[in-house]
Each structure stands twice: as structure tokens, then as C-alpha cells.
Symmetry: none
Subunit: 226 residues, 2 copies
DNA sequence: AAGATATTTTAACTTTATTTAACAGGTTGT
DNA sequence: ACAACCTGTTAAATAAAGTTAAAATATCTT
């Protein structure tokens, strides 16, 4: 059973979410401020944290940083007020895996939780993360992309981008999302830089024609492969 | 076509919603109390239930429990008066997927229905969605339209539009609906842009004369093919 | 710390996708 | 029949993405 730490100071929304998650078979626990959340986190073995950004005592971003110091791979999703762009940027640099802006539908939240569990499952047990992409195998940890017995070492950025693409295989990886996660800021120049890396990755992966890094105009990229 | 069971005792609201959903191409059926709803559910093959919580004879929550006993994965959305916190909580433990508080906008409801349908039926269909259109085959995931051994890569917008047309094959695809889904806004200019794409698609599909993208004046388009 | 090397960003230019504009027909209701 | 609005088509303008190479940073080595 997936254990979720939910930190939300709005009591109405908090208990609502908590009940909903329980009904959906998650083992959800509610904290109503940052300190309480930190204490619960320290004493519990959670699989995922759902943190409101604006909370009394300790805000969600600071809390996420502390959580990440303890467990660098703990999945974190931020709940944030609509379009608080600045918060989102800071959230990513604090190690968020995703964010969702209020108001959101329960379905949307559930979808994101599931997507993250899908992506982190496996890497949670410290097992080496390996992606099979057509005839290639990719090891994000060592940044090695191999094809048969030929192995090629990727640079940091190449590897980070390929890893995001892989973890979103067959679904769209949004430009903004990738830019915030890898470049920490989604300005024009970073976007162009990302384009350059897409070209590089396409070159590395070109020997299997069933692999495509598809551009979704105005949105992002989609890695397509079996 | 998605079949929706709508249970709502307020007759005005009920028929309004029902008509609206039909206009949006859902196969909606209206029940005006809990018992009627239960009977209809038992005799029909619904894809989604939209239940008012306060209803005569059997309330929505009890009804949801019964429905869930029969079909554990039936998506349920509750309609509830604002601030009936307790109802909502209870609703979730009865297995609701989402809830929407009255008064709500039609668009909001539509959005949530779509979110749920995306999750429940998308999870199986996303695998390898392929449409056969006359002598053509269309792969939305890779955006490839093929005719025999000739394959042509569509652009994002072309593909999204063709996909919507295919998923509504031989039924009307409403302009507004398509505009909101693909362009996110249905203003004049986007509508003209859509016209341009219709022209493009017609060009691509012209080699099979049994295929027609028919305009339904003032409403939208209908893709006709075997 | 200087020089060599690898990596990342910026720039310039090319190509492609999408939107807007312009004009020509259609459809509908009065 | 006519006014108002909707649709079809083509071409131009704008915006986004693709590619390559040079410039700027960062990293490594001695």
C-alpha cells in the first residue's frame, strides 16, 4: 500500500483530499502545518509527499528541501495556487517531481500520483534504473547509452534529458517541465539549448528507426518506442 | 459513444444537464430519483454515473454504494450543494471518483467527465490506437497517416484534428468541442484555423473517394467512411 | 595556475508549423 | 432575393523548431 504524506493547512481541503486518497486505497496521513509534516515524515516511512506551498511555521518549499536532504529520491508533488509561477520554479529547484495548481480535480491529482508511482517504482528499491529503448539500453546513473556491445557515455545534460523522456515514454514531456527540472528556468535561451540537445539525442538514437523523438508543437516532446 | 446515467431530482436542472450532455455527444439518460436511477443502472450498460446526493427514495451515496457492489470500477461523480463537506467525505468513501459542487458551470462538468473518461477508457486504448479510414491507416501516437506502403507524417494539429474526427467517425464532431480540445479556446481566429486544417485533411484523404469530411452547417464536421 | 579538453550556451541560419488575411462561395431565415 | 453569417481555399505573415558551428564555461591534468 502506497503511503502518502499530505501537508495542507486549509483544513477543509486537507481532510477532503485525505479522505479521497484513502477511498482510492492510498494510506494517506494529513499534516496541517509544516512542522507537523516534518515530524510525521521523520517518524514514518512514506512513499510520496504532497505538499502545499503556503503553510504556517514551515513552508512547503523549505520542507521539501529538508525532506530531500534526508531522502534524495522521495517523490514530491506541490500543491500551489493558480499560476504562482515563481513558486513553481522554486519548487523544482527544491526537488519537486511535479506540481498541480489549485483548484484541481481529484482525478487530475490521482493521475499525477499514479504517473509518479509508475516512474519511481523500481528506482525506489535502490535498484539500478535502466531503460530499454528499442535496440538501446540507457543507464541514467552511469550516463551510459549502449547498443549491443558499443557503449557511449552521455554528458550530464544529455543524460538528464533522455532520462526525462524515458520516464515519460509515449507521453508528452512538456517543454516547461523539462526546462524547469533540468535548467531550473524556462527562458528563451534555455529552450534553444534544449533544442540542441534534442538534436543530439536524435543523432544518438537514429540507428533504430522505430524510435522517434516527436515534437508536439508548442507543447514539448514525446519519446516513442516499444 | 459514452453512456451516462444522470440522477437528479430537480427536474429543471436535470433536463438541462441531460440536454447539454446530449448536445455534447454523450448518450445521457435522466433519472429523477434514486430508485429510478437504480433500475436504469441495472438494465443499462453505462460508462459513467452522475449522481445528485440529495434525492428522494434513495440518496446518491447509498446508490453509489450499490452501484459499486455491482461494478467496482464504475466511474461516479457526485453533484452536491456547496459546502456539504460531510456529504463529500461520505461520497468518497462510497467510491466517488470526483465531485462537483452546485452551482457549477457546464464546462467544468464536461472537463471532469472527460478527465475520468480519459483515465478509465484511455488506460486500455492508449496502447496502440490505430484508425482504419478507407484505404488509409492512421496512427495518432506517431502522427503517421499511411496509404499502402507510403507513409506521411502529419503535424501536431493535423493529427489531433484527424484523431478527433476518427473518434467521432460517422457522428458529428462539434466545432466548439474540437476547438476547446485542440486550440483550448473557441474564438473566431481559431475557428478559421480549424477550417484551414480541414482543407488540409481533405487533401490528404482525397485518394479514397468513399471518405468525406462533411460540414454540418453551424455545428461542425462529420468524418464519413467505412 | 596554465593549458588542454569536454560541456554547455549562444548565435546565425534553415526549415517547418501555425495563424492570419483575403477573397470566393454557400446556407439559412426573413 | 437579400442580409447575415458560415465555410472553402490559397497565400502571406508569424512563430516554433531543426541544425550547425563558434563562443563561453566548466572541468581536468600536470
Amino acid at each position: 500500500m502506497v503511503k502518502i504524506l499530505l501537508a495542507e493547512d486549509d483544513h477543509n481541503l486537507g481532510s477532503l483530499l485525505c479522505e479521497y486518497l484513502k477511498a482510492k486505497n492510498y494510506d494517506a496521513k494529513l499534516a496541517t502545518d509544516g512542522i507537523e509534516a516534518w515530524e510525521m515524515f521523520s517518524n514514518g516511512d512514506y512513499d510520496l509527499c504532497l505538499l502545499d506551498i503556503m503553510m504556517p511555521r514551515i513552508d512547503g518549499i523549505t520542507l521539501a528541501r529538508r525532506i530531500r536532504e534526508t531522502d534524495n529520491s522521495m517523490p514530491v508533488i506541490f500543491l500551489t495556487a493558480k499560476n504562482l509561477e515563481k513558486d513553481i520554479l522554486e519548487g523544482f529547484s527544491a526537488g519537486a517531481d511535479d506540481y498541480i495548481t489549485k483548484p484541481f480535480s481529484m482525478e487530475e491529482l490521482l493521475y499525477r500520483i499514479e504517473a509518479i508511482m509508475r516512474r519511481t517504482r523500481g528506482s525506489r528499491t535502490t535498484e539500478a534504473e535502466i531503460y530499454e529503448i528499442g535496440i538501446y539500453r540507457f543507464h541514467p546513473l552511469t550516463q551510459i547509452l549502449e547498443k549491443g556491445d558499443i557503449s557511449h557515455k552521455l554528458t550530464t545534460k544529455e543524460s538528464e534529458l533522455l532520462r526525462l523522456l524515458c520516464s515519460h515514454k509515449n507521453e508528452i514531456l512538456e517543454r516547461n517541465y523539462a526546462l524547469k527540472k533540468i535548467w531550473t528556468d524556462d527562458n528563451y535561451f534555455n529552450a534553444r539549448s534544449m533544442d540542441v540537445y534534442i538534436t543530439k539525442l536524435r543523432k544518438y538514437l537514429k540507428e533504430d528507426s522505430s524510435i522517434t523523438i516527436l515534437n508536439v508543437h508548442g507543447k514539448g516532446y514525446k519519446l516513442i518506442s516499444k
